[in-house]
């Protein structure tokens, strides 16, 4: 099988059309299971009480906000080096979802911070760098749309995404490098300091968000493909 078969927008359009509904279905099932485990089965936290349950949204959203930026930058690098059309379209399709997850992470964090820290917002390194990430997403979207020629916007935005990658390790390691109010991570590849049902709920939600992100990116890239290829014969034949 030709490895680059799906690199053409016309073939990828059909593939995305088949995959997207499945991704949404998986996201709904995993999300329902994750919310059930998180809100019903997981025990009340000994220190924070019930308010800790926001982590089932907050932590997966924060993971996705960073991971989607990384994936977007990888697609950007691909579109700049190999000059592929589809990679640039995928980068553009991922950006709104990434911005949404960044906003959700900040928003749920604010509602967790009010009862726990006594403030909706503190200017520590983790929160500030995550806010910068939100502006990087906004800059990416705005720069991509600022040119008459969409290919020009693709390439400028891809370069911006690559410059902004510097921010990702800063977000990730900010709780270690600085003395932040934001707590350090409870989960690592070596083990966890959480109750197993809490971890299960969080991982289920993370996979639900993952599946949702793939689904929205595929659905969005389909509309981008149609818009850009509207003059081609295969789109007219649809």
């Amino acid at each position: 099988m030709n490895f680059f078969y799906f690199a053409s927008p016309s073939t990828f359009y059909r593939l995305a059309g088949i995959l997207a509904p499945w991704c949404f279905a998986v996201a709904a099932i995993l999300g329902a299971a994750g919310l059930y485990v998180g809100l019903v089965q997981a025990p009340t936290d000994a220190q924070q009480g019930e308010v800790y349950r926001v982590i089932f949204i907050h932590v997966p959203a924060a993971w996705m906000s960073m991971f989607l930026y990384f994936v977007m930058a990888c697609y950007g690098a691909m579109s700049l080096t190999f000059n592929t059309r589809l990679a640039a379209m995928m980068a553009r399709a991922l950006a709104p979802t990434g911005a949404m997850f960044t906003f959700v992470a900040l928003w749920t964090g604010a509602f967790w911070g009010r009862p726990t820290w006594g403030a909706y917002w503190v200017w520590d390194a983790r929160l500030t760098s995550e806010l910068v990430l939100l502006f990087l997403y906004f800059g990416f979207i705005a720069l991509g749309n600022a040119f008459e020629d969409p290919r020009r916007g693709d390439r400028a935005a891809a370069l911006l995404a690559l410059i902004g990658v510097v921010n990702l390790p800063i977000i990730y390691f900010s709780v270690l490098w600085w003395n932040t109010l934001h707590q350090g991570s409870s989960v690592s590849f070596k083990g966890t300091s959480m109750h197993v049902s809490m971890l299960t709920g969080m991982l289920l939600m993370a996979f639900a968000f993952w599946s949702y992100s793939i689904g929205t990116a595929l659905a969005r890239v389909r509309t981008i493909i149609l818009e850009r290829e509207r003059r081609t014969r295969w789109v007219r034949a649809l």
């Binding site: 500030t128 600022a146 370069l159």
Partner: protein, 230 residues
């Protein structure tokens, strides 16, 4: 351009540096406006937040840094936009000189015309805020290290927005978030000095950022200009 050795980095750097510096010397209005903006905005804060000496000493370093950052930002659109509009940028790209050389030269000239006046002026504003001599010196040092980094970051963003719709606002959205670390460490150095701590960690981080930025960002600006002229 023919007078300097074609094809060498230093030749291209010197040529672009001298040209842009001469241009800003013959049109001093822009630098003057930027300096006036810097002083004016820094003078608005005591009128807005109240003129108690202790409060002013507390917020002084941060306010002066924010004002310097905004003033440096205001001078960014002129860095490439004029040469882009009249086709000079395209001619420079076609010349035998290495692109990284003349882009670095332009960035250095931009810093000479924006960062250096701001750095030299900052002690006078610091006196307005009643900062002591030690804090004032550290503030000027931090600005001397930080403003070239602002010029480098801003040059990459300015090159990205060449020919964009609403380039001014777009440049703000791109550049100001990237300026955040410079602001944090720059203002942090003076804050640390005024609260009796050592400013050297902040200054070291600014210096490290400057070295990394000087290596990576001119290349990013070159790629952005190539995208703009494609």
């Amino acid at each position: 351009m023919s007078a300097v050795a074609a094809g060498s980095f230093s030749g291209a750097f010197r040529w672009a540096f001298a040209r842009d510096l001469r241009l800003s010397w013959r049109h001093p209005g822009e630098t003057m406006l930027m300096v006036a903006f810097f002083v004016l905005v820094a003078s608005l804060f005591p009128l807005g937040v109240g003129a108690e000496p202790q409060l002013l000493q507390r917020i002084g370093p941060g306010v002066i840094w924010v004002c310097a950052l905004l003033a440096a930002f205001l001078s960014l659109p002129a860095l490439f936009a004029g040469d882009y509009a009249d086709g000079t940028l395209e001619q420079m790209l076609l010349s035998p000189h290495p692109m990284s050389g003349w882009v670095s030269g332009k960035i250095a000239a931009h810093w000479m015309a924006s960062g250096i006046p701001l750095t030299l002026l900052s002690p006078f504003l610091a006196l307005q805020y009643g900062l002591d001599a030690g804090t004032l010196t550290i503030l000027a040092c931090a600005l001397a290290l930080g403003t070239p980094l602002l010029s480098l970051l801003g040059a990459a963003c300015a090159a990205l927005t060449l020919g964009a719709r609403g380039a001014g606002m777009l440049l703000a959205l791109l550049a100001l978030p990237l300026f955040v670390p410079v602001l944090i460490f720059g203002a942090g150095a003076a804050e640390a000095q005024s609260s009796g701590l050592s400013p050297s960690p902040h200054l070291s981080l600014l210096g490290a950022g400057l070295i990394v930025g000087a290596m990576a960002l001119p290349a990013a600006a070159c790629v952005a200009i190539r995208i703009a002229l494609d």
